[in-house]
């Protein structure tokens, strides 16, 4: 790992505190700004509405089932109930990951913009989901069991200063990366026109990048998993809570992994069809790459700005 990557990882570690800025019971909503109002105007297509409403009520009832069954297990130690609970948890993870969140959009855009191998698409998706769940376990274990603190107590207003600094650094990092990217494009144009010193990196770098991505993504805990864990601690069955969260993570992995597979497959099939006409294929590929990239860029920048 080079020094630059290490520094980036450090910045992002501090980000893992920030997820709680999501919680309206704790964090202030700065949405009166123009930028946030603008972000709120991005609308996904209306066809998602009915789907999302169904997902919401299914998740609501699954959530009730989860807590009922957990109580049953605590009181009756019933192995049958445990099996059902595991089944419900997988389902919960699948449904939760299907719910509103930009993750799938980002995943699809990214997979359209990059020629990912199928197995790498699955790798990212599965790693993201599992590590989300795993880091919730780490967080709760450290805060509740070691530090003997608790959820609301650990996010008091002083943390806001840390979060402002972290967001600022991320913003700077984003700018830095964009500047480097444009220098890179410029260099490549020159290389095409004149000398051919430009050498593409392959294989190993890609795998390393993917693993770093997975690790860093995994730093941010899923709040839903947090509350399940805290619930299990309050009932003195933390080990069951850990099992449930891992199983929920597995369910989320199914959804996100499948999204990755679909996106990779979509890219392959759409590009494959036009391979007979080279120019058209290149054009389509460029549209995907630039389109997917631009979409992620715009979405990302606006969301960053909204949070600054």
């Amino acid at each position: 790992m080079n020094r630059k990557t290490f520094i980036i990882i450090l910045f992002l570690l501090s980000v893992s505190f920030l997820y709680a800025q999501d919680n309206p019971f704790i964090s202030k909503d700065d949405s009166k700004t123009d930028q946030e109002q603008f972000v709120k105007r991005i609308h996904y297509p209306k066809i998602f509405q009915r789907f999302m409403n169904v997902i919401a009520s299914v998740q609501h009832s699954l959530n009730n089932r989860l807590s009922e069954l957990t109580r049953t297990i605590k009181e009756e130690r019933d192995a049958g109930a445990l099996l059902i609970l595991i089944g419900i948890s997988i389902l919960y993870g699948i449904i939760h990951a299907l719910g509103p969140g930009h993750g799938k959009t980002i995943m699809v855009s990214y997979a359209l913009a990059n020629p990912l191998k199928l197995k790498n698409g699955i790798l990212i998706g599965v790693s993201v989901a599992f590590l989300h769940a795993l880091s919730a376990i780490v967080f709760v274990s450290v805060v509740y069991l070691i530090l003997k603190m608790s959820y609301f107590a650990s996010f008091d207003s002083q943390k806001r200063i840390i979060s402002l600094v972290s967001y600022g650094l991320i913003g700077l990092l984003g700018v830095f990366l964009l500047v480097r990217a444009s220098i890179g494009i410029h260099k490549r144009r020159n290389a095409e026109n004149g000398n051919s010193n430009h050498v593409k990196k392959t294989g190993n770098t890609k795998a390393f990048e993917l693993l770093t991505v997975a690790l860093l993504i995994g730093l941010v805990p899923c709040e839903g998993a947090l509350f399940v864990l805290i619930f299990s601690i309050s009932m003195d069955i933390y080990h069951i809570g850990i099992l449930l969260v891992l199983v929920i993570g597995f369910g989320m992995a199914i959804t996100i992994g499948t999204t990755g597979v679909i996106a990779v497959g979509l890219r392959k099939s759409l590009l494959g069809v036009s391979s007979r006409r080279r120019k058209a294929a290149y054009l389509l590929e460029s549209i995907f790459e630039v389109g997917g990239g631009v979409f992620v860029l715009i979405l990302g920048s606006m969301l960053f700005l909204a949070n600054l």
């Binding site: 800025q21 019971f25 704790i26 509405q49 959530n63 990217a181 941010v220 460029s286």
Partner: protein
């Protein structure tokens, strides 16, 4: 596409997810009831009851039921209000209140209660909102939802809305899906109360 550009996209993708913007929602489930109060002058305000899911309930009670007796004493209720409620002022207490085609900002709420009922935490609070009733038909919209979708709010199955009417006032309501106020990037349609009343 240049490898550097691709790498940039990778890092941006990573940053997005790392800051939690890629997270799926919701994480908390709330069941709500609304009680609308009238007196002889007109509308007085409305009381909201929220029951949280078991998981978030235990998160609140672990933090605030300090003597672990399964109930919130008045000092614990004060702590709950301070640490796990007052910030909702910034989100208009999850309330969409529309009167005369204008959204109303809720300045204060009164009589906040927090209780633990069968291990679920229930918040109850009163939103003062006075409108004089006269011969004109008045219409106001009351929606209860979290537009950040951290919480999913649903109306209770039994008596989700109760009107404490007054003999001198004609009042009625209906619950409807308000597509105009679809939130979270236009994906979730909230159920909203349309209240109508006039002096008899």
């Amino acid at each position: 596409m240049d490898n550097l550009v691709r790498k940039t996209l990778l890092w941006l993708f990573l940053l997005l997810v790392a800051t939690g913007v890629a997270h799926s929602h919701p994480h908390v489930f709330i069941e709500t009831k609304v009680q609308i109060n009238f007196n002889d002058a007109g509308l007085v305000g409305f009381r909201l009851d929220w029951i949280f899911d078991d998981m978030f309930s235990s998160t609140i009670s672990t933090d605030y039921d300090r003597n672990r007796n399964g109930a919130f004493e008045s000092d614990e209720v004060d702590a709950v209000r301070e640490g796990a409620f007052s910030n909702l002022r910034n989100y208009n207490y999850f309330i969409l209140l529309v009167s005369e085609n204008r959204e109303v900002e809720i300045e204060e709420v009164q009589d906040f209660k927090a209780e633990i009922i069968k291990s679920k935490v229930r918040y109850s609070f009163f939103v003062p909102f006075k409108i004089e009733a006269d011969s004109r038909l008045r219409e106001i919209k009351i929606g209860v939802f979290d537009d950040t979708y951290f919480c999913d709010v649903e109306y209770a199955e039994e008596s989700p809305v109760v009107i404490n009417a007054h003999v001198s006032i004609d009042s009625s309501y209906r619950l409807f899906k308000d597509a105009e106020n679809a939130y979270w990037c236009g994906q979730i349609i909230p159920k909203v109360i349309l209240l109508q009343f006039r002096k008899k």
